[in-house]
């Protein structure tokens, strides 16, 4: 089989996959059709609900979720990089903090949601604090790993050049940057799951709250709009991160895998 013919047949498989998903969805929505309760709304029903919501509340919910995810991510990442550098380079801090993080990592950040509500109420911080925890744990581990595995020659070169503290920090950060970026990107991906769960439990605004209200009124189309919106947001965030990484650190290659 020529390469072109093989490409065409693989394209056929891809089209079959799309038809399979859409066809399966349609079939299920017809099988479970009921005039009273739409358990599986048709794709166009979800599309019209999306348009309806886009005219009313969707944008506000997206902005609320985005604010929680990005705010928590930025704060958690800054804390994570700072603590990670300390753990990687300062022995007493490593002695004290690394075990604590090893322990806290086993309690998933999502298990903190009830405690965050008790501490912060149901406002912005009860959700953002969960994202702070998610980002913090991931970024700390990656930063410490990157910082403690700096090339010994670089450290020696820095010493013989009499670099000051700021310059030494820059060398450490830049050589750890590939690892740090992996942590940052992973945290950005995990943040959306944290946002939606926190908003489901402590929801006043946000996509999770929108889904929660949809669930309470048995509006499955609204829940599906929320699921799709979150998927698009997660995809866009990942794409934006990759573009930013390529623009800011073009010398980093090889950590672009999913």
């Amino acid at each position: 089989m020529s390469a072109r013919a093989e490409k065409r047949s693989l394209l056929g498989y891809r089209l079959a996959a799309i038809l399979f998903v859409l066809g399966g969805w349609l079939l299920l929505s017809w099988i479970f059709y009921s005039p009273r309760l739409e358990l599986i709304p048709t794709p166009w029903r979800v599309a019209t609900r999306l348009v309806e919501l886009a005219h009313t509340e969707l944008l506000g919910d997206i902005l609320a979720s985005l604010g929680e995810a990005l705010g928590g991510w930025v704060l958690g990442s800054i804390l994570g990089i700072a603590i990670g550098v300390l753990i990687g380079r300062v022995a007493p801090v490593r002695l004290l903090l690394r075990p604590v993080i090893d322990f806290l990592r086993f309690i998933s950040p999502l298990a903190w949601v009830p405690l965050a509500i008790l501490w912060f109420g149901i406002g912005y911080w009860s959700k953002a604090s969960i994202i702070v925890l998610i980002s913090l744990f991931t970024v700390v581990v990656n930063t410490a790993q990157g910082v403690s595995s700096i090339d010994g020659e670089l450290v020696k070169a820095g010493k013989s050049l009499h670099l000051n503290f700021r310059q030494r920090l820059e060398v450490a950060l830049m050589s750890a940057m590939p690892d740090i970026l992996v942590g940052l990107r992973y945290a950005l991906g995990a943040a959306w799951g944290g946002v939606v769960i926190a908003e489901l439990v402590a929801g006043d605004v946000g996509i999770g709250a929108m889904e929660s209200f949809g669930g309470q009124s048995f509006d499955v189309a609204q829940i599906m709009v929320g699921m799709l919106t979150l998927a698009v947001l997660g995809y866009a965030a990942n794409w934006g991160f990759m573009r930013a990484q390529q623009a800011l650190f073009p010398w980093i290659v090889g950590n672009r895998e999913a």
Partner: protein, 261 residues
């Protein structure tokens, strides 16, 4: 630096986590003694211990732990079984890969947690919805790691095995599986952690028992001691699960170990 280093338990391990628990306990106890924090904000360690023993004595804790573990077991089983099958299909058949890849790559972005309200509408408070979330959360990481594990096998090994007359199921069981196992187990290690988180998160809404239900319920009643007690149990179970997979790894692939951080 080396002076301290030799007192440190290996990073990422159980000993390190236990030490961390003790450090945290000391800080927590000190804070609650010095600042006399209100029990709603931060109960003292003895208060949490009392809450824990009371719940255990009443049998409620046992029920919650059992419920969560049953959900975890079935969800993990279904998710990993499907993930292993998908991963093998992705790696071994070009047609299957072309068909499955767009599906996996699309649904990977639909978050398992975002479907929790949907599953409550579909399945109510029954276990089916939880199994679905947990299986969905495990599925992708297992599928992607299994596919990568098989693709990454040195083609020379496969050629040599074929030349030595291995084919079909014998090739799969005697050559492909042992060569791919380390990476597959890495996937399972991540998957069990995802699965445990998903169990807790899925129980936050639309559940009648389980650790996730227990801590949100305690939160509504402003019983912070029970919330923290529940979190400690969640952490302990998570630790045991991850140690279990690590042990499985040491038993099955002693030829390749995983490093800490």
């Amino acid at each position: 630096m080396n002076r301290f280093a030799r007192y440190l338990p290996s990073p990422g391990g159980a000993a390190s986590a236990v030490l961390g628990f003790l450090i945290l306990l000391a800080v927590w106890w000190g804070t609650s003694l010095i600042f006399h924090t209100r029990a709603v904000i931060l109960p003292s360690p003895p208060a949490v211990w009392r809450a824990l023993t009371e719940m255990a004595a009443a049998g409620a804790l046992g029920l919650d732990v059992r419920t969560s573990l049953v959900e975890l077991f079935w969800g993990f089983l279904v998710g990993t079984a499907l993930g292993l099958a998908t991963g093998m299909a992705l790696a071994r058949s070009r047609g299957a890969a072309a068909f499955l890849e767009p599906i996996v790559e699309t649904f990977r972005f639909i978050l398992p947690f975002s479907m929790v309200p949907l599953l409550v509408v579909w399945f109510g408070t029954s276990i089916l919805g939880k199994i679905f979330v947990v299986a969905y959360a495990c599925y992708f990481v297992v599928a992607i790691n299994t596919a990568a594990a098989i693709v990454e096998i040195d083609p020379l090994i496969l050629k040599a095995a074929r030349m030595l007359g291995y084919s079909g199921s014998r090739l799969l069981l005697r050559v492909i599986v042992p060569a791919a196992l380390p990476r597959i187990l890495t996937g399972l290690q991540v998957a069990i952690a995802y699965a445990w988180v998903s169990v807790i998160a899925a129980e936050y809404i639309g559940a009648q028992a389980g650790l996730g239900y227990m801590i949100t319920n305690a939160q509504t009643g402003l019983e912070t001691d029970k919330v923290i007690a529940g979190m400690v149990i969640i952490g302990a179970v998570g630790l045991i699960l991850s140690q279990g997979v690590a042990l499985l790894r040491r038993l099955t692939v002693p030829y390749r170990s995983s490093a800490g951080w």
